[in-house]
Protein backbone atom coordinates (compact mmCIF):
# COMPACT_ATOMS: atom_id res chain seq x y z
CA UNK A 1 0.00 0.00 0.00
CA UNK A 2 1.50 3.24 -1.19
CA UNK A 3 -0.72 5.45 0.91
CA UNK A 4 0.37 6.37 4.38
CA UNK A 5 3.87 5.02 4.19
CA UNK A 6 4.71 3.96 7.69
CA UNK A 7 1.80 3.31 9.98
CA UNK A 8 0.82 6.47 11.79
CA UNK A 9 -1.78 6.33 14.52
CA UNK A 10 -2.16 7.93 17.91
CA UNK A 11 -3.85 6.63 21.05
CA UNK A 12 -6.79 8.70 22.29
CA UNK A 13 -7.74 9.16 25.91
CA UNK A 14 -10.86 10.68 27.46
CA UNK A 15 -10.03 11.63 31.03
CA UNK A 16 -13.02 12.51 33.22
CA UNK A 17 -14.64 14.53 30.45
CA UNK A 18 -17.80 16.46 31.31
CA UNK A 19 -19.75 18.72 29.01
CA UNK A 20 -22.36 20.99 30.48
CA UNK A 21 -24.34 23.44 28.38
CA UNK A 22 -25.16 26.74 30.04
CA UNK A 23 -28.74 26.74 31.26
CA UNK A 24 -29.16 22.97 30.97
CA UNK A 25 -30.05 21.19 34.21
CA UNK A 26 -28.24 17.93 33.44
CA UNK A 27 -24.80 17.65 31.84
CA UNK A 28 -24.67 16.44 28.22
CA UNK A 29 -21.71 14.22 29.11
CA UNK A 30 -20.82 13.08 32.61
CA UNK A 31 -17.30 12.12 33.68
CA UNK A 32 -16.42 10.21 30.50
CA UNK A 33 -13.21 8.19 30.72
CA UNK A 34 -11.92 5.64 28.25
CA UNK A 35 -8.85 4.97 26.13
CA UNK A 36 -8.69 3.99 22.47
CA UNK A 37 -5.41 2.21 21.69
CA UNK A 38 -3.56 3.40 18.59
CA UNK A 39 -4.86 1.87 15.38
CA UNK A 40 -8.20 0.70 16.76
CA UNK A 41 -11.75 1.58 15.82
CA UNK A 42 -13.79 2.76 18.80
CA UNK A 43 -17.51 2.95 18.08
CA UNK A 44 -19.62 5.30 20.17
CA UNK A 45 -23.13 3.91 20.07
CA UNK A 46 -26.37 4.64 21.86
CA UNK A 47 -29.86 6.05 21.41
CA UNK A 48 -30.28 9.62 20.20
CA UNK A 49 -29.60 12.15 22.92
CA UNK A 50 -26.94 10.00 24.56
CA UNK A 51 -24.19 12.48 23.70
CA UNK A 52 -22.20 10.26 21.34
CA UNK A 53 -21.83 12.94 18.66
CA UNK A 54 -21.05 15.55 21.31
CA UNK A 55 -18.32 13.30 22.70
CA UNK A 56 -16.81 12.92 19.23
CA UNK A 57 -16.94 16.63 18.48
CA UNK A 58 -15.10 17.42 21.70
CA UNK A 59 -12.03 15.69 20.29
CA UNK A 60 -11.41 18.22 17.49
CA UNK A 61 -12.81 21.04 19.59
CA UNK A 62 -15.84 21.64 17.40
CA UNK A 63 -17.38 21.75 20.88
CA UNK A 64 -15.36 22.77 23.92
CA UNK A 65 -15.46 20.54 26.98
CA UNK A 66 -16.43 21.87 30.41
CA UNK A 67 -14.04 19.86 32.54
CA UNK A 68 -11.68 16.94 32.24
CA UNK A 69 -9.20 16.48 29.41
CA UNK A 70 -8.73 14.68 26.11
CA UNK A 71 -5.27 13.49 25.14
CA UNK A 72 -4.11 12.58 21.66
CA UNK A 73 -0.86 10.68 21.71
CA UNK A 74 -0.47 11.74 25.32
CA UNK A 75 -0.84 15.47 24.59
CA UNK A 76 -3.81 17.51 25.78
CA UNK A 77 -5.99 19.13 23.14
CA UNK A 78 -6.77 22.04 25.43
CA UNK A 79 -3.78 24.24 24.77
CA UNK A 80 -3.86 23.65 21.03
CA UNK A 81 -4.75 26.14 18.32
CA UNK A 82 -8.12 24.91 17.04
CA UNK A 83 -7.30 25.06 13.33
CA UNK A 84 -3.94 23.33 13.74
CA UNK A 85 -5.51 20.60 15.86
CA UNK A 86 -8.30 19.97 13.35
CA UNK A 87 -5.90 19.69 10.42
CA UNK A 88 -4.31 16.72 12.19
CA UNK A 89 -7.63 14.94 12.66
CA UNK A 90 -9.62 13.39 9.81
CA UNK A 91 -13.27 14.42 9.93
CA UNK A 92 -16.14 12.62 8.18
CA UNK A 93 -19.81 13.52 8.65
CA UNK A 94 -23.04 11.85 7.60
CA UNK A 95 -24.02 14.45 4.98
CA UNK A 96 -20.41 14.39 3.72
CA UNK A 97 -20.34 18.17 3.24
CA UNK A 98 -18.24 18.19 0.08
CA UNK A 99 -17.61 21.66 -1.36
CA UNK A 100 -20.01 21.87 -4.31
CA UNK A 101 -17.94 24.55 -6.07
CA UNK A 102 -14.71 22.55 -6.12
CA UNK A 103 -13.95 19.47 -8.17
CA UNK A 104 -13.20 16.15 -6.52
CA UNK A 105 -9.41 16.54 -6.73
CA UNK A 106 -9.62 19.92 -5.06
CA UNK A 107 -12.05 18.63 -2.44
CA UNK A 108 -9.92 15.70 -1.37
CA UNK A 109 -6.74 17.75 -1.14
CA UNK A 110 -8.24 20.60 0.87
CA UNK A 111 -6.41 19.86 4.12
CA UNK A 112 -3.02 19.42 2.38
CA UNK A 113 -3.71 22.77 0.66
CA UNK A 114 -4.32 24.37 4.05
CA UNK A 115 -1.04 22.83 5.16
CA UNK A 116 0.71 24.42 2.19
CA UNK A 117 1.76 21.39 0.14
CA UNK A 118 3.16 22.18 -3.32
CA UNK A 119 1.25 21.52 -6.57
CA UNK A 120 3.08 18.38 -7.55
CA UNK A 121 2.54 16.76 -4.17
CA UNK A 122 -1.16 17.75 -4.20
CA UNK A 123 -1.69 16.19 -7.64
CA UNK A 124 0.10 13.00 -6.66
CA UNK A 125 -1.87 12.74 -3.45
CA UNK A 126 -5.20 13.29 -5.25
CA UNK A 127 -4.44 10.46 -7.69
CA UNK A 128 -3.31 8.21 -4.85
CA UNK A 129 -6.47 8.86 -2.83
CA UNK A 130 -8.79 8.24 -5.79
CA UNK A 131 -7.09 4.92 -6.35
CA UNK A 132 -7.39 4.11 -2.66
CA UNK A 133 -11.16 4.58 -2.67
CA UNK A 134 -11.55 2.85 -6.02
CA UNK A 135 -12.67 5.78 -8.15
CA UNK A 136 -11.27 6.27 -11.67
CA UNK A 137 -8.78 9.11 -11.98
CA UNK A 138 -10.98 11.11 -14.39
CA UNK A 139 -13.58 11.43 -11.60
CA UNK A 140 -11.17 13.91 -10.04
CA UNK A 141 -12.25 16.54 -12.55
CA UNK A 142 -15.95 16.17 -11.75
CA UNK A 143 -17.98 18.18 -9.29
CA UNK A 144 -19.67 16.58 -6.25
CA UNK A 145 -23.13 17.00 -7.80
CA UNK A 146 -22.09 14.68 -10.60
CA UNK A 147 -21.36 11.77 -8.25
CA UNK A 148 -23.68 9.22 -6.66
CA UNK A 149 -24.31 9.23 -2.91
CA UNK A 150 -21.97 6.30 -2.36
CA UNK A 151 -19.22 7.90 -4.42
CA UNK A 152 -19.60 11.15 -2.50
CA UNK A 153 -19.24 9.31 0.79
CA UNK A 154 -16.07 7.60 -0.48
CA UNK A 155 -14.72 11.01 -1.44
CA UNK A 156 -15.58 12.24 2.05
CA UNK A 157 -13.44 9.47 3.54
CA UNK A 158 -10.62 10.20 1.09
CA UNK A 159 -10.71 13.88 2.04
CA UNK A 160 -10.40 12.99 5.72
CA UNK A 161 -7.43 10.74 4.95
CA UNK A 162 -5.66 13.24 2.71
CA UNK A 163 -3.07 14.56 5.15
CA UNK A 164 -2.58 11.09 6.66
CA UNK A 165 -3.95 12.03 10.09
CA UNK A 166 -3.14 9.76 13.05
CA UNK A 167 -6.75 10.04 14.24
CA UNK A 168 -10.09 10.09 12.42
CA UNK A 169 -13.55 11.13 13.60
CA UNK A 170 -16.51 9.68 11.72
CA UNK A 171 -20.05 10.73 12.55
CA UNK A 172 -22.55 8.22 11.13
CA UNK A 173 -20.55 8.19 7.90
CA UNK A 174 -22.74 5.61 6.19
CA UNK A 175 -26.04 6.62 7.78
CA UNK A 176 -27.49 8.29 4.69
CA UNK A 177 -26.62 5.46 2.28
CA UNK A 178 -29.06 2.75 1.18
CA UNK A 179 -28.57 -0.65 2.89
CA UNK A 180 -26.88 -2.40 -0.03
CA UNK A 181 -24.37 0.36 -0.64
CA UNK A 182 -23.89 0.86 3.09
CA UNK A 183 -22.73 -2.72 3.49
CA UNK A 184 -20.40 -2.32 0.51
CA UNK A 185 -18.94 0.89 1.99
CA UNK A 186 -18.55 -0.73 5.41
CA UNK A 187 -16.64 -3.63 3.89
CA UNK A 188 -14.45 -1.30 1.84
CA UNK A 189 -13.79 0.76 4.92
CA UNK A 190 -12.79 -2.30 6.97
CA UNK A 191 -10.45 -3.36 4.18
CA UNK A 192 -8.91 0.13 4.13
CA UNK A 193 -8.59 0.20 7.89
CA UNK A 194 -6.77 -3.15 7.90
CA UNK A 195 -4.12 -1.46 5.75
CA UNK A 196 -4.12 2.05 7.22
CA UNK A 197 -4.58 1.22 10.91
CA UNK A 198 -5.78 4.65 11.94
CA UNK A 199 -7.17 5.37 15.37
CA UNK A 200 -10.85 5.99 14.66
CA UNK A 201 -13.76 7.30 16.68
CA UNK A 202 -16.88 6.12 14.85
CA UNK A 203 -20.34 7.32 15.89
CA UNK A 204 -23.48 5.37 15.04
CA UNK A 205 -26.90 4.60 16.50
CA UNK A 206 -26.95 1.20 14.79
CA UNK A 207 -25.71 -1.58 17.09
CA UNK A 208 -25.18 -3.96 14.14
CA UNK A 209 -22.90 -1.42 12.49
CA UNK A 210 -21.10 -0.93 15.80
CA UNK A 211 -20.49 -4.68 16.15
CA UNK A 212 -19.30 -4.91 12.58
CA UNK A 213 -17.00 -1.89 12.54
CA UNK A 214 -15.70 -1.68 16.09
CA UNK A 215 -12.63 -3.15 17.71
CA UNK A 216 -14.17 -1.66 20.83
CA UNK A 217 -17.64 -0.36 21.49
CA UNK A 218 -18.60 2.36 23.93
CA UNK A 219 -22.29 2.02 24.74
CA UNK A 220 -23.78 5.25 25.96
CA UNK A 221 -27.10 6.08 27.52
CA UNK A 222 -29.26 9.23 27.66
CA UNK A 223 -27.61 11.79 29.90
CA UNK A 224 -24.15 11.17 28.49
CA UNK A 225 -23.23 8.21 30.62
CA UNK A 226 -20.84 5.53 29.39
CA UNK A 227 -22.45 2.22 30.33
CA UNK A 228 -20.04 -0.32 28.90
CA UNK A 229 -16.77 -0.15 27.00
CA UNK A 230 -15.44 -3.41 25.65
CA UNK A 231 -14.90 -5.55 22.57
CA UNK A 232 -18.01 -6.48 20.58
CA UNK A 233 -17.68 -10.16 21.57
CA UNK A 234 -17.48 -9.44 25.28
CA UNK A 235 -20.34 -6.95 25.19
CA UNK A 236 -22.52 -9.53 23.43
CA UNK A 237 -21.47 -12.27 25.84
CA UNK A 238 -21.63 -10.23 29.02
CA UNK A 239 -23.84 -7.14 28.72
CA UNK A 240 -23.18 -4.94 31.74
CA UNK A 241 -26.83 -4.37 32.58
CA UNK A 242 -30.39 -4.61 31.28
CA UNK A 243 -29.98 -1.43 29.24
CA UNK A 244 -27.06 -2.89 27.30
CA UNK A 245 -28.76 -6.29 26.97
CA UNK A 246 -31.82 -4.62 25.55
CA UNK A 247 -29.79 -2.32 23.33
CA UNK A 248 -27.73 -5.11 21.76
CA UNK A 249 -30.95 -7.09 21.22
CA UNK A 250 -32.42 -10.44 22.15
CA UNK A 251 -30.54 -11.96 19.23
CA UNK A 252 -27.16 -11.15 20.74
CA UNK A 253 -26.25 -14.85 20.57
CA UNK A 254 -26.71 -14.79 16.82
CA UNK A 255 -24.73 -11.55 16.61
CA UNK A 256 -21.87 -13.22 18.43
CA UNK A 257 -21.97 -16.10 15.99
CA UNK A 258 -21.66 -13.55 13.19
CA UNK A 259 -18.35 -12.38 14.67
CA UNK A 260 -16.68 -15.77 14.36
CA UNK A 261 -15.72 -17.59 11.17
CA UNK A 262 -15.57 -21.35 10.89
CA UNK A 263 -11.83 -21.06 10.43
CA UNK A 264 -11.54 -19.93 14.06
CA UNK A 265 -13.32 -22.89 15.66
CA UNK A 266 -12.19 -26.54 16.03
CA UNK A 267 -14.25 -28.36 13.40
CA UNK A 268 -15.25 -31.99 13.97
CA UNK A 269 -13.21 -34.48 11.93
CA UNK A 270 -13.32 -37.69 13.97
CA UNK A 271 -15.44 -40.78 14.40
CA UNK A 272 -18.57 -40.78 12.34
CA UNK A 273 -17.55 -37.43 11.00
CA UNK A 274 -14.29 -38.52 9.39
CA UNK A 275 -13.66 -36.48 6.29
CA UNK A 276 -15.20 -37.73 3.11
CA UNK A 277 -15.95 -36.32 -0.28
CA UNK A 278 -19.09 -34.22 -0.14
CA UNK A 279 -22.10 -36.18 -1.24
CA UNK A 280 -23.64 -34.60 -4.32
CA UNK A 281 -26.37 -32.07 -3.62
CA UNK A 282 -25.79 -31.89 0.11
CA UNK A 283 -25.51 -28.32 1.47
CA UNK A 284 -22.04 -27.14 2.54
CA UNK A 285 -20.49 -23.91 3.82
CA UNK A 286 -17.13 -22.26 3.23
CA UNK A 287 -14.60 -22.11 6.04
CA UNK A 288 -14.58 -18.30 5.69
CA UNK A 289 -18.32 -18.07 6.43
CA UNK A 290 -19.41 -17.15 9.93
CA UNK A 291 -20.98 -19.48 12.45
CA UNK A 292 -24.19 -17.56 11.93
CA UNK A 293 -24.16 -18.34 8.20
CA UNK A 294 -23.50 -21.99 9.01
CA UNK A 295 -26.38 -22.12 11.49
CA UNK A 296 -28.68 -20.48 9.00
CA UNK A 297 -27.88 -23.02 6.27
CA UNK A 298 -28.20 -25.91 8.76
CA UNK A 299 -31.65 -24.69 9.78
CA UNK A 300 -32.83 -24.01 6.25
CA UNK A 301 -31.62 -27.25 4.69
CA UNK A 302 -31.91 -29.49 7.77
CA UNK A 303 -28.35 -30.69 7.28
CA UNK A 304 -26.66 -31.43 10.57
CA UNK A 305 -23.83 -31.97 10.90
CA UNK A 306 -22.75 -29.99 7.87
CA UNK A 307 -19.59 -30.23 5.82
CA UNK A 308 -17.25 -27.21 5.76
CA UNK A 309 -15.16 -26.64 2.63
CA UNK A 310 -11.85 -24.86 2.36
CA UNK A 311 -11.41 -23.97 -1.32
CA UNK A 312 -13.58 -26.96 -2.33
CA UNK A 313 -11.63 -29.35 -0.07
CA UNK A 314 -13.41 -30.77 3.00
CA UNK A 315 -12.07 -29.16 6.19
CA UNK A 316 -14.36 -30.68 8.80
CA UNK A 317 -17.92 -30.63 10.09
CA UNK A 318 -19.87 -28.01 11.98
CA UNK A 319 -22.51 -29.25 14.43
CA UNK A 320 -25.15 -27.67 16.64
CA UNK A 321 -23.16 -28.86 19.66
CA UNK A 322 -20.06 -27.08 18.39
CA UNK A 323 -22.02 -23.83 17.99
CA UNK A 324 -23.47 -24.20 21.48
CA UNK A 325 -20.01 -24.71 22.88
CA UNK A 326 -18.69 -21.54 21.20
CA UNK A 327 -21.57 -19.52 22.62
CA UNK A 328 -21.01 -21.00 26.07
CA UNK A 329 -17.33 -20.40 26.52
CA UNK A 330 -16.01 -18.61 23.48
CA UNK A 331 -16.67 -15.10 24.69
CA UNK A 332 -13.31 -14.56 26.32
CA UNK A 333 -11.19 -14.95 23.26
CA UNK A 334 -13.49 -14.75 20.27
CA UNK A 335 -12.42 -11.26 19.38
CA UNK A 336 -12.52 -10.37 15.76
CA UNK A 337 -9.38 -11.37 13.90
CA UNK A 338 -8.78 -7.81 12.70
CA UNK A 339 -8.86 -6.51 16.24
CA UNK A 340 -6.67 -9.30 17.56
CA UNK A 341 -3.93 -8.42 15.10
CA UNK A 342 -3.54 -4.95 16.52
CA UNK A 343 -2.96 -5.82 20.15
Amino acid sequence: MAVGGEVKAAPLEFRGVTKRYPGAAAPALEDLSFTVPAGEVCVLVGPSGCGKTTAMRLVNRMIDLTSGDILIDGASILGRNESDLRREIGYVIQQVGLFPHLNINHNITMVPRLLGWDRKRLADRAAELLELIGLPEEMGKRYPSQLSGGQRQRVGVARALAADPPLMLMDEPFGAIDPINRERLQNEFLRLQRELRKTIVFVTHDIDEAIKMGDRIAIMREGGELVQYDTPARILAHPADDFVAQFVGADRGLKRLALTTLREVPLERTGDLALSKPAGGEATVSIDDTLRDALSVMMTDSVRPMLVLDHDKPAGYVTIELINKVLRDGAEDSKRPTAAASS
Binding site: R86, I93, L98, F99, M110, S145, Q146
Partner: protein, 248 residues
Protein backbone atom coordinates in the same frame (compact mmCIF):
# COMPACT_ATOMS: atom_id res chain seq x y z
CA UNK B 1 -47.07 60.30 -36.72
CA UNK B 2 -46.06 63.49 -35.05
CA UNK B 3 -45.40 64.22 -31.42
CA UNK B 4 -47.51 67.35 -31.25
CA UNK B 5 -48.87 66.78 -27.79
CA UNK B 6 -45.51 67.63 -26.28
CA UNK B 7 -45.09 70.98 -27.92
CA UNK B 8 -41.66 72.52 -27.80
CA UNK B 9 -40.70 76.17 -27.77
CA UNK B 10 -41.36 76.62 -31.51
CA UNK B 11 -45.11 77.15 -31.28
CA UNK B 12 -46.85 73.90 -32.06
CA UNK B 13 -44.77 72.08 -34.66
CA UNK B 14 -41.79 69.84 -33.97
CA UNK B 15 -38.58 71.78 -33.78
CA UNK B 16 -36.01 69.89 -35.77
CA UNK B 17 -32.53 71.01 -34.90
CA UNK B 18 -30.12 71.27 -37.75
CA UNK B 19 -26.67 70.14 -36.66
CA UNK B 20 -24.75 71.28 -39.66
CA UNK B 21 -25.15 68.19 -41.84
CA UNK B 22 -27.68 68.04 -44.65
CA UNK B 23 -31.25 67.88 -43.44
CA UNK B 24 -33.00 65.02 -45.14
CA UNK B 25 -36.66 64.74 -46.01
CA UNK B 26 -37.05 62.12 -43.31
CA UNK B 27 -35.85 64.58 -40.68
CA UNK B 28 -38.06 67.40 -41.93
CA UNK B 29 -41.09 65.07 -41.90
CA UNK B 30 -40.06 63.72 -38.48
CA UNK B 31 -40.18 60.15 -39.85
CA UNK B 32 -40.22 57.17 -37.57
CA UNK B 33 -36.46 56.70 -37.65
CA UNK B 34 -34.00 58.57 -39.82
CA UNK B 35 -30.92 56.38 -40.11
CA UNK B 36 -28.97 59.07 -41.96
CA UNK B 37 -29.46 61.60 -39.16
CA UNK B 38 -28.56 59.00 -36.55
CA UNK B 39 -25.26 58.12 -38.24
CA UNK B 40 -24.42 61.81 -38.76
CA UNK B 41 -24.99 62.53 -35.07
CA UNK B 42 -23.52 59.33 -33.63
CA UNK B 43 -20.14 60.73 -32.72
CA UNK B 44 -21.47 64.16 -31.74
CA UNK B 45 -24.45 63.15 -29.60
CA UNK B 46 -25.02 59.47 -29.03
CA UNK B 47 -21.49 58.16 -28.53
CA UNK B 48 -20.62 60.63 -25.73
CA UNK B 49 -24.06 60.16 -24.17
CA UNK B 50 -23.63 56.38 -24.23
CA UNK B 51 -20.16 56.63 -22.69
CA UNK B 52 -21.43 58.96 -19.97
CA UNK B 53 -24.29 56.58 -19.31
CA UNK B 54 -21.88 53.67 -18.96
CA UNK B 55 -19.78 55.75 -16.58
CA UNK B 56 -22.80 56.67 -14.48
CA UNK B 57 -23.81 53.02 -14.30
CA UNK B 58 -20.38 51.54 -13.61
CA UNK B 59 -19.64 54.03 -10.84
CA UNK B 60 -23.07 53.60 -9.21
CA UNK B 61 -23.02 49.79 -9.33
CA UNK B 62 -19.35 49.67 -8.33
CA UNK B 63 -19.75 51.86 -5.28
CA UNK B 64 -23.13 50.33 -4.43
CA UNK B 65 -21.61 46.86 -4.58
CA UNK B 66 -18.62 47.83 -2.44
CA UNK B 67 -20.87 49.27 0.26
CA UNK B 68 -23.39 46.42 0.12
CA UNK B 69 -20.67 43.78 0.10
CA UNK B 70 -19.02 45.12 3.24
CA UNK B 71 -22.36 45.58 4.98
CA UNK B 72 -23.45 42.05 4.02
CA UNK B 73 -20.24 40.51 5.34
CA UNK B 74 -20.66 42.48 8.57
CA UNK B 75 -24.30 41.42 8.86
CA UNK B 76 -23.30 37.82 8.12
CA UNK B 77 -21.12 37.91 11.24
CA UNK B 78 -23.38 40.13 13.34
CA UNK B 79 -26.92 39.06 12.56
CA UNK B 80 -28.54 42.01 14.33
CA UNK B 81 -27.20 44.32 11.58
CA UNK B 82 -29.38 42.81 8.87
CA UNK B 83 -32.83 44.21 9.82
CA UNK B 84 -31.77 47.89 10.16
CA UNK B 85 -29.70 47.80 6.95
CA UNK B 86 -32.55 46.13 5.06
CA UNK B 87 -34.98 48.71 6.41
CA UNK B 88 -32.77 51.60 5.34
CA UNK B 89 -32.23 50.03 1.90
CA UNK B 90 -35.99 49.54 1.45
CA UNK B 91 -36.65 53.11 2.49
CA UNK B 92 -34.18 54.48 -0.08
CA UNK B 93 -35.53 52.11 -2.72
CA UNK B 94 -39.12 53.25 -2.33
CA UNK B 95 -38.42 57.00 -2.76
CA UNK B 96 -39.59 58.02 -6.27
CA UNK B 97 -36.49 58.64 -8.35
CA UNK B 98 -37.40 62.12 -9.54
CA UNK B 99 -38.16 63.23 -5.99
CA UNK B 100 -34.95 61.66 -4.77
CA UNK B 101 -32.87 63.59 -7.31
CA UNK B 102 -34.62 66.83 -6.30
CA UNK B 103 -34.03 66.20 -2.61
CA UNK B 104 -30.36 65.46 -3.20
CA UNK B 105 -29.90 68.63 -5.27
CA UNK B 106 -30.97 70.68 -2.27
CA UNK B 107 -28.26 68.96 -0.21
CA UNK B 108 -25.34 68.34 -2.52
CA UNK B 109 -26.07 70.68 -5.43
CA UNK B 110 -26.37 70.13 -9.16
CA UNK B 111 -23.54 67.78 -10.05
CA UNK B 112 -22.57 64.17 -10.82
CA UNK B 113 -22.01 63.51 -7.18
CA UNK B 114 -25.70 64.12 -6.47
CA UNK B 115 -26.72 61.84 -9.29
CA UNK B 116 -24.40 59.06 -8.15
CA UNK B 117 -25.61 59.23 -4.56
CA UNK B 118 -29.16 58.67 -5.73
CA UNK B 119 -28.20 55.90 -8.15
CA UNK B 120 -26.04 54.13 -5.55
CA UNK B 121 -28.95 54.27 -3.10
CA UNK B 122 -31.12 52.30 -5.48
CA UNK B 123 -28.57 49.45 -5.72
CA UNK B 124 -28.08 48.96 -1.99
CA UNK B 125 -31.20 46.98 -1.17
CA UNK B 126 -30.88 44.39 -3.91
CA UNK B 127 -27.09 44.00 -3.60
CA UNK B 128 -27.10 43.79 0.19
CA UNK B 129 -30.04 41.37 0.32
CA UNK B 130 -28.63 39.09 -2.36
CA UNK B 131 -25.09 39.02 -0.97
CA UNK B 132 -26.37 38.23 2.50
CA UNK B 133 -28.78 35.60 1.17
CA UNK B 134 -25.94 33.98 -0.78
CA UNK B 135 -23.70 33.86 2.28
CA UNK B 136 -26.48 32.52 4.50
CA UNK B 137 -27.50 29.94 1.90
CA UNK B 138 -24.36 27.84 2.32
CA UNK B 139 -25.50 24.54 3.80
CA UNK B 140 -24.64 23.78 7.40
CA UNK B 141 -22.93 20.47 6.59
CA UNK B 142 -20.54 22.22 4.18
CA UNK B 143 -19.69 24.72 6.91
CA UNK B 144 -19.31 21.93 9.47
CA UNK B 145 -16.89 20.14 7.16
CA UNK B 146 -14.98 23.36 6.46
CA UNK B 147 -14.52 24.18 10.15
CA UNK B 148 -13.93 20.53 11.04
CA UNK B 149 -11.01 20.21 8.64
CA UNK B 150 -9.32 23.22 10.20
CA UNK B 151 -10.21 26.21 8.02
CA UNK B 152 -9.89 29.55 9.80
CA UNK B 153 -12.96 31.85 9.72
CA UNK B 154 -11.46 34.04 6.98
CA UNK B 155 -10.67 30.94 4.91
CA UNK B 156 -14.22 29.70 5.30
CA UNK B 157 -15.47 33.08 4.08
CA UNK B 158 -13.17 33.42 1.05
CA UNK B 159 -12.76 29.80 0.02
CA UNK B 160 -16.24 28.46 0.77
CA UNK B 161 -18.96 30.97 1.56
CA UNK B 162 -18.23 33.66 -1.04
CA UNK B 163 -17.65 31.26 -3.96
CA UNK B 164 -20.90 29.49 -3.11
CA UNK B 165 -22.71 32.83 -2.79
CA UNK B 166 -21.50 34.01 -6.23
CA UNK B 167 -24.58 32.95 -8.24
CA UNK B 168 -26.86 34.85 -5.86
CA UNK B 169 -24.52 37.86 -5.72
CA UNK B 170 -24.28 38.02 -9.51
CA UNK B 171 -28.07 37.69 -9.82
CA UNK B 172 -28.27 40.80 -7.63
CA UNK B 173 -25.71 42.63 -9.79
CA UNK B 174 -27.74 41.86 -12.91
CA UNK B 175 -30.86 43.41 -11.41
CA UNK B 176 -28.84 46.37 -10.09
CA UNK B 177 -27.25 47.09 -13.50
CA UNK B 178 -30.59 47.03 -15.33
CA UNK B 179 -32.18 49.21 -12.66
CA UNK B 180 -29.37 51.77 -12.74
CA UNK B 181 -29.21 51.95 -16.56
CA UNK B 182 -32.92 52.70 -16.55
CA UNK B 183 -32.85 55.19 -13.66
CA UNK B 184 -29.78 57.00 -14.95
CA UNK B 185 -31.88 58.39 -17.81
CA UNK B 186 -33.90 60.29 -15.22
CA UNK B 187 -30.62 61.70 -13.88
CA UNK B 188 -30.40 63.89 -17.00
CA UNK B 189 -33.12 65.92 -15.37
CA UNK B 190 -30.43 67.11 -12.94
CA UNK B 191 -27.19 66.87 -14.88
CA UNK B 192 -27.29 66.96 -18.70
CA UNK B 193 -25.39 63.73 -19.16
CA UNK B 194 -26.01 60.19 -20.30
CA UNK B 195 -28.67 58.86 -22.64
CA UNK B 196 -31.31 60.70 -20.68
CA UNK B 197 -30.11 63.95 -22.23
CA UNK B 198 -31.06 63.12 -25.87
CA UNK B 199 -34.32 61.67 -24.57
CA UNK B 200 -35.19 64.87 -22.69
CA UNK B 201 -33.98 66.93 -25.69
CA UNK B 202 -36.20 64.95 -28.03
CA UNK B 203 -39.20 65.39 -25.78
CA UNK B 204 -38.43 69.08 -25.31
CA UNK B 205 -38.27 69.63 -29.06
CA UNK B 206 -41.72 68.30 -29.79
CA UNK B 207 -40.68 64.67 -29.70
CA UNK B 208 -38.14 64.23 -32.45
CA UNK B 209 -38.72 60.54 -33.17
CA UNK B 210 -35.24 59.60 -34.38
CA UNK B 211 -33.44 61.09 -31.40
CA UNK B 212 -36.01 59.74 -28.93
CA UNK B 213 -35.98 56.23 -30.32
CA UNK B 214 -32.20 56.09 -30.84
CA UNK B 215 -31.48 57.06 -27.24
CA UNK B 216 -34.20 54.77 -25.92
CA UNK B 217 -32.97 51.80 -27.92
CA UNK B 218 -29.36 52.46 -26.88
CA UNK B 219 -30.52 52.52 -23.27
CA UNK B 220 -32.33 49.19 -23.58
CA UNK B 221 -29.37 47.72 -25.46
CA UNK B 222 -26.99 48.91 -22.74
CA UNK B 223 -29.15 47.30 -20.06
CA UNK B 224 -29.24 44.02 -22.00
CA UNK B 225 -25.49 44.07 -22.62
CA UNK B 226 -24.81 44.79 -18.94
CA UNK B 227 -27.10 41.96 -17.93
CA UNK B 228 -25.50 39.66 -20.49
CA UNK B 229 -22.00 40.49 -19.31
CA UNK B 230 -22.82 39.44 -15.78
CA UNK B 231 -24.61 36.33 -17.02
CA UNK B 232 -21.43 35.46 -18.92
CA UNK B 233 -19.28 36.26 -15.92
CA UNK B 234 -21.32 33.87 -13.84
CA UNK B 235 -20.88 31.09 -16.38
CA UNK B 236 -17.12 31.58 -16.30
CA UNK B 237 -16.85 31.90 -12.51
CA UNK B 238 -19.24 29.15 -11.47
CA UNK B 239 -18.81 26.16 -13.78
CA UNK B 240 -19.91 23.97 -10.85
CA UNK B 241 -23.38 25.54 -10.93
CA UNK B 242 -23.86 24.37 -14.51
CA UNK B 243 -22.66 20.91 -13.50
CA UNK B 244 -25.19 20.91 -10.69
CA UNK B 245 -28.03 21.89 -13.03
CA UNK B 246 -26.94 19.18 -15.45
CA UNK B 247 -26.98 16.60 -12.69
CA UNK B 248 -30.32 17.63 -11.25
Amino acid sequence: MTGLFLAGGGGGGPVIPNFGGGTSKCVIDNGRFCWDWFTQNWSGTFEPALIQHIELTVIAVGIGFAISFLLAIAAHRARWLAPPVTFLGSLLYTIPSLAFFEIMVSITGINWFTVEIALVSYTLLILFTNTLAGLSGVSSEVLDAAHGMGMKPAQVLWKVELPLALPTIIAGLRVAVVTVVSLATVAAYIVPAGLGKPIFDAIGSGLFNTKFIAAGVLCVALALVGDGLFAGLQRVLTPWAAARRGAA
